[in-house]
């Protein structure tokens, strides 16, 4: 084997892509070729450096997001197959358990089937990733509000809150539990607030309930006939300010 041939095999050898015979030939050729031995050492050293980089396993939140999507799809999917008879009591017990858990999570689940913290954070994260922040970018509510018409089956109240420190950035559609909902995106300094809202199933206003969840601030309340769900990385006190400003502004012209 001449040197150019053995040189051309260094990578494939390190990558374990040579057949047993080719490997043996290559190793034999190496003995006579100090240049290629150096190359081999270099290739191994670089490979080792890359392999000691920390892995990036999927965060728990991502697991939760995907698990939820899969459950929604499996639940909404085509006709259920008949289940063996014994599964019925098990299934009933399971759904009772789920119902009990939902009841226990309690206050945060409201309106159309309810939304959990993970979902609110997911909505926020989709907004916070800059490429998909808004589908319609405008601080003018007369631009944003009509944009929703024809995209969802209700017309959400759209308010610009610049005077309160939360300028409107735009709107987008998000899918929560398999349903399309309107999301308004507000900016607050370097942060964004994602406000999802949809018609309330029950009448009456409630005052905003602000919570912290995995470092995010969440607010849930009902106002003017809409369920409001806000999520952001601002401090909880700023989230309370946001909710109050929104209620104030929506209240003014009624």
């Amino acid at each position: 084997m001449d040197c150019p041939t053995c040189e051309s095999l260094v990578d494939a050898y390190v990558d374990g892509e040579l057949s047993a015979t080719d490997s043996a030939d290559f190793e034999h050729a190496l003995e006579a070729c100090p240049e290629c031995r150096k190359r081999l050492e270099a290739a191994r050293s670089m490979s080792a450096m890359l392999r000691e980089l920390p892995l990036e396993p999927a965060p728990d939140l991502l697991h939760a997001r995907i698990d939820r999507e899969l459950r929604a799809i499996a639940g909404a999917a085509a006709p259920r197959r008949a289940l063996p008879r014994w599964t019925m009591p098990v299934a009933m017990a399971a759904s009772l358990l789920v119902a009990a858990c939902i009841g226990w999570v309690g206050g945060t689940l409201t309106g159309r089937g309810g939304v959990g913290e993970d979902e609110m954070v997911s909505t926020y994260l989709r907004v916070a990733s800059s490429e998909h922040a808004v589908d319609v970018a405008s601080s003018d509510r007369h631009t944003v509000k009509p944009w929703f018409a024809g995209r969802i089956d209700y017309s959400p109240p759209v308010r610009d809150l610049t005077s309160a420190g939360f300028p409107l950035e735009g709107g987008r559609i998000d899918v929560v539990d398999g349903r399309k909902v309107s999301v308004l995106v507000y900016r607050h300094n370097q942060h964004r607030v994602a406000l999802s809202l949809w018609p309330a199933a029950e009448p009456g206003d409630t005052s905003p309930r602000v919570t912290s969840y995995n470092g995010f601030s969440l607010a849930t309340w009902r106002h003017g006939g809409f369920e409001m769900h806000a999520a952001s990385d601002v401090a909880p006190s700023e989230m309370a300010d946001f909710a109050a400003a929104l209620d104030r502004d929506t209240g003014e012209d009624r």
């Binding site: 990578d11 494939a12 990558d15 374990g16 892509e17 150096k38 190359r39 050492e41 270099a42 290739a43 191994r44 050293s45 670089m46 490979s47 450096m49 890359l50 392999r51 000691e52 980089l53 920390p54 892995l55 990036e56 396993p57 999927a58 965060p59 939140l61 991502l62 697991h63 997001r65 995907i66 999507e69 899969l70 799809i73 499996a74 639940g75 999917a77 085509a78 259920r80 197959r81 994260l125 989709r126 916070a128 990733s129 800059s130 490429e131 998909h132």
Partner: protein, 181 residues
């Protein structure tokens, strides 16, 4: 192509076959996007797309199959965002200047290696990640990137040369066994 709607049996099979590779999908997405939040979005979008295509999965190796979808989803999202550059033209992201006094520390070396890899053009970055971090064979890489094996080999060689040069700049020549070319 109109895919059949996934039923609950298919979702279950998908969970068993593909979910174990979510870490790989996310890791690859991290290196493609170089952004933790966008990586999660990309991995999620790719997972859902994989479910839609799952009816066409014929029991081949699951991880390359999924990584291919991650990459295609990424390319589509870039196209949608108006990024029209071909992969090889993607700008290098500026990275911190090397600090020779810190070079002795292994953790610091890792940081430099990560930064040098992140700064490579996407086309070189992805092939190195698939080979060295995801540990795919040439044949699997060829399937993920939709390239002939010969092109995989030449592209990999070029990526390694470029990374070696970047590391020589960052780490200095001595003691790292990197080739002088």
């Amino acid at each position: 192509m109109e895919a059949p709607k996934p039923d609950s049996a298919m979702v279950e099979r998908f969970r068993a076959v593909m979910l174990p590779h979510l870490d790989a999908a996310h890791g690859f997405a991290r290196w493609l996007t170089r952004d933790p939040v966008r990586a999660q979005d990309l991995a999620q979008e790719a997972m859902l797309r994989a479910l839609r295509y799952f009816h066409a999965f014929r029991g081949e190796e699951a991880r390359p199959w999924l990584l291919r979808i991650v990459r295609n989803t990424w390319i589509d999202s870039r196209a949608k965002a108006g990024v029209e550059q071909p992969l090889e033209m993607v700008e290098d992201r500026p990275t911190e200047a090397p600090d020779p006094e810190q070079n002795a520390l292994a953790g610091d070396r890792r940081r430099h290696v990560a930064a040098a890899l992140a700064a490579l053009p996407a086309e070189m970055r992805e092939i190195l990640v698939l080979r060295e971090i995801e540990d795919l064979s040439y044949k699997e890489i060829a399937a993920v990137l939709d390239l002939p094996i010969g092109t995989v080999m030449s592209r990999l060689a070029r990526a390694r040369e470029r990374l070696a040069a970047a590391l020589r700049d960052r780490l200095g020549r001595s003691g790292h066994g990197l080739p002088d070319m």
